[in-house]
Subunit: 309 residues, 2 copies
């Protein structure tokens, strides 16, 4: 194989009580990437469409992730990367993660898969480090493994793939405001009360058990975040109205996607997820903010191969 | 049925990263209780052996729990309670929980089981409230349901029974020092860092997934407590030596049981659990502290009926 064209999905991290550890993978929204072998060693970004992003390898998340992989695997072959960007950078649904994960996934395939998917995570994390300053895995893990993933610690990440109840469907709305990750981070309280923390870890543990047992009611009861959401909600237009609207039509839960401004909801079944999307649209139309909505079952596979040459 | 004699097991709460939410039930160590119908309405404690505990219903955890049940279920029948105490109060393995849980379990049986086991928890919690000032469920839940239990919040508790990997065996050592719960509580930091909290909820989520998947290595990696253990460890003689000794012989993890002074370890298989017990004995003999050790598979059933009349 000389060339591979892939679909690289968006993802939702910081899933309510799973702040900084839990993420899941979306299906219909994502980038396309082409990775091509080259006789010239090293990495080159040869094309970027859809967004104005740096072509220099060391300033591009895909480039940095790809280089991290090649540092761990000696080869005389080089690689060209084309990126067809559909995920909006800064939207909070893992735009940089998609680029970083796609690059290492494609190169690994073209090299004959010397690494298993979990081992690719640490390379992709280097792209995230470039994007946000810290090498977190909570978006690249669901993109590379599919489904729901739990990342125990982001230094030497211990990544656990969790089961996905069949009927779970996500609705994501991206209110088109600019929200810098640095700003979303600056509002985080670095000290929290033990009481709130206990409630949070009880909820996350309950959520994990709900995923294993297909217990939608339990999932719903546990999709709560008393720690980060109250601070960050203030940065997102009409967040409490969006959340109430989702609850009104029966969503299991609703929270901030990544560090925002996108807002996700999880529902049981497509019908409810569509009603949530409708409600989200009404809320944001009402305050004259432009937005984009996505409805998606949980993508249990992750990256998809579109073409091999 | 006029009378029931039951075995009411000890339990371990605050299981490392599961502080305040996760507990499990022990098998060989526990109290015996006899609950007997009486034509005189109300509750009476008619006998307590093994410990010097209050006979007055309102000052006895079993009495208070039993009264809470009868407030929710009108009956002309009364009940006599006999308690044969083998669990040492203040040892940190759920002595008060056993008395409270046993009382409501026995009365519920004699009434023809108007309540399911989960519904009994809130009555037993009233006994815990008398014992420690707060109506927590993290010991009574594993006693009443068996196995590992997760208690999401202790007000209106949402209790989840978790699966138990077959080969999991607990070793518990009770160093016989007096450690007041109030003292163990006073050393808790009420504010904690977000970073430590994230690591804790990642570990608890990982531990829960490890229980579902019989993944002993993952269970081991996740049995960590960066928040409460560092403060409370100082109150327990030779805690770090006990913990190191357990690790040396291959225990999966080791931590404080309840609010101490008992220390628990979890191992894969009886042989390792016995080696841990041996090591615990050596450590505490070396510093001339008297102690008692227990080795126990996880009790997945909870309370056991010994005799019905």
């Amino acid at each position: 194989m000389k060339e591979i064209r892939i679909f690289v999905p968006a993802s939702v991290a910081n899933v309510s009580c799973g702040f900084d550890v839990l993420g899941f993978c979306l299906a219909p929204v994502g980038d396309e990437m082409v990775i091509r072998k080259s006789s010239e060693p090293g990495i080159r970004i040869t094309k970027i469409e859809g967004q104005d992003l740096p072509m220099e390898v060391d300033n591009n998340v895909a480039g940095v992730a790809a280089k991290a992989l090649l540092e761990a695997y000696e080869t005389a072959v080089g690689f060209e990367i084309e990126i067809y960007k559909h995920i909006k950078p800064g939207s909070g649904i893992g735009s940089s993660a998609a680029s970083a994960a796609g690059a290492v996934y494609g190169i690994n395939k073209l090299l004959g898969e010397p690494f298993d998917p979990k081992s690719l995570i640490r390379f992709a994390m280097q792209g995230e480090k470039l994007a946000s300053g810290s090498p977190h895995a909570d978006n690249v893990a669901p993109v590379l493994l599919g489904g729901f993933t739990l990342v125990r610690c982001s230094d030497g990440p211990d990544v656990i793939k969790l089961p996905v109840p069949d009927e779970l469907v996500a609705t994501v709305v991206h209110p088109k405001i600019e929200l810098k990750t640095a700003h979303a981070r600056s509002v985080l309280k670095q000290q929290i009360s033990l009481k709130d923390a206990i409630s949070q870890w009880g909820n996350l543990a309950g959520l994990v058990s709900g995923l294993y047992e297909n217990d939608y009611d339990r999932i719903s009861r546990c999709l709560v975040d008393k720690i980060v959401e109250p601070s960050r909600a203030l940065l997102i237009p009409a967040f409490s109205e969006l959340k109430e609207a989702a609850a009104e039509v029966g969503a299991l839960g609703c929270g901030i996607s990544g560090s925002g401004p996108s807002v996700y909801a999880l529902s049981r079944g497509m019908t409810t997820a569509e009603e949530v999307a409708q409600k989200f649209s009404e809320v944001l139309s009402g305050i004259d903010i432009s937005f984009e909505t996505h409805i998606s079952p949980i993508n249990t596979v992750g990256i998809r191969i579109l073409e091999e040459k």
